[in-house]
Subunit: 321 residues, 2 copies
């Protein structure tokens, strides 16, 4: 696949989403405003609000609701990152210092809580109970997934666990965003169902690619050390493919007994996975998810947003960061 | 005032609230279920759900909505306690080990997040957008208050800061509970406004008494060391009265320069405050709040719930834990 730079047709609308996000700290403590500003500057590509805007615009949803939804979803995502970085003790994300690299844990916990609170407030402001319910369910799925990861997933080489984990971590929020954007539009139930599925497939692909980039990415642009998942005991899809092809690899076998804490062995395992064809196999799987996502657009009338959603899906497997 | 044991006429309904709370972890990770069970056993007097049930029953609200509201409010309260104890490093609450006394901080952060998520889900299940908005606003007020306390309030002897702090910390949730319970009933706007005010006055009284008990309480039943607020740099109403009467007390003067970190001096200051009439003055103020709360019931027809609300208000200033 050739390099695709995803040019968003919703660039101006994303600015409205960002304004909406910033407004949430308007009456908050100045240090909290500064923290939110720091997080927003570090803030990635706004893939989730872009997804919501494209789906909603395509189906004729009111812009105001899509902006509110986009801000709610992106703040929810931001809050989970704040608590994740604290939990992992990460000091860098996308090459930028994390909040907990600058602040003490208590302030970081509360900042995450505040951002959750404002995300919930925005979700309530969509004035749509179904959306509010979806939002609360998704938050539960994400947090329960993180707890399961913490208690059960370390050192585990297991496909089923992996898919559940990336659903909870990433695909659930993509799914919810696409679903909610369709739900606030005049689309029929069949279309709403398709857009939910589109978000799900896209989110699964997104996380698989993230997990591949942990092995293959440029450390500067990914912003964390190569193979950091494995060093944290998390076996992702490339590792699973490698384990399936090399079931007797001693480093793989060591994982079940906490072997992931051995830095030297894990560095070797990361190198072996990189040298194998496991990342390519994982990428093929991500591309299959993208193909299934694009198939969900089949019955949508051709339009600029539909094209943009296709490009977004292709961009997801083609991105370098 | 004589000792009043508050006998709740909603004991059976509180059990429904507790069942509803427990259900929230049904599909969650087993360790999370165990954590919620531990928190519920440690769980206090369920004053907030009791308030909601009494107000709602009095005004003819549907029981199902009041149970959902009560569970949402109590879980929100529980989640803030979990993160608070983590932030303060508290190992005991009401004499029972806190979650962070048993678990590592990451698990404690996520458990709090999960309980927030389920509280939001319950709020959404009331199927009432106004209530959902109230809920999200209250969550923001609570968390912003905690951040302000962390950044600005330590060592500060200031009435205005104190009242704002206890509003954010406690009265906002009492206010929201009473307001929301009235809102889901067929009561008119005037009555809804009165019940909101009732919750506010009750909550202010409740926190003032909590702050008094930090000085006068029996350490075993309060479950934390005497004067712990002051040792943490938080000057509460008894300290403020003492400072007003003794503006040149060197320990009081030291607070502005971080003097609260000096354990010996603070132990002396706690003793001086206990020996003064400052806690009585603070109690008089709490009783004034209770009187104003009871005045809010003026236009309510006499009934068992109205009597119970009056008793609840009197119990709040008369409790020993």
């Amino acid at each position: 696949m050739n390099a695709i730079t995803f040019i968003s047709p919703v660039t101006e609308e994303i600015k409205l989403v960002e304004d909406r996000m910033r407004e949430q700290a308007d009456s908050a403590h100045p240090d909290l405003r500064a923290a939110l500003e720091h997080l927003m500057k570090a803030g990635g590509k706004r893939i989730r609000p872009t997804l919501g805007l494209l789906v909603g615009n395509m189906l004729g949803a009111p812009l105001e609701k899509l902006v509110t939804l986009g801000a709610a979803v992106e703040l929810l995502h931001t809050a989970t990152l704040v608590h994740d970085d604290l939990i992992d003790g990460s000091l860098l994300r996308r090459g930028t210092p994390t909040l907990n690299a600058r602040w003490a844990p208590p302030a970081t916990v509360l900042t995450g809580d505040f951002i959750f609170a404002r995300a919930a407030k925005l979700a309530a402001e969509t004035d749509d109970l179904r959306l509010m319910n979806l939002f609360a369910d998704t938050l539960s799925i994400i947090v329960n997934g993180e707890l399961t990861q913490m208690f059960n997933s370390r050192g585990l080489v297991n496909r089923d666990n992996y898919y559940k984990r990336i659903y909870a971590k990433t695909a659930s929020l993509f799914e919810m965003t696409s679903h909610a954007a369709a739900m606030v539009s005049p689309a029929n139930d069949e279309t709403i169902k398709c857009m939910r599925e589109f978000g799900y497939q896209l989110g699964m692909a997104f996380q698989i690619v993230d997990d591949i980039l942990d092995f293959t990415g440029d450390q500067t642009s990914v912003g964390k050390p190569i193979g950091s998942d494995l060093h944290n005991g998390l076996v992702t899809l490339p590792g699973i493919y490698y384990a399936e092809a090399n079931p007797h690899d001693p480093d793989i076998l060591s994982l079940a007994n906490g072997g992931w804490t051995n830095h030297e062995n894990m560095t070797r395992l990361v190198e072996n996975i990189r040298a194998s064809n496991s990342t390519q196999k994982a990428m093929q799987e991500a591309e299959n998810y993208v193909d299934r996502a694009i198939a969900c657009l089949e019955n949508i009338q051709p339009c600029a947003e539909r094209d943009a959603l296709e490009n977004l899906a292709k961009y997801i497997v083609d991105r370098k960061v």
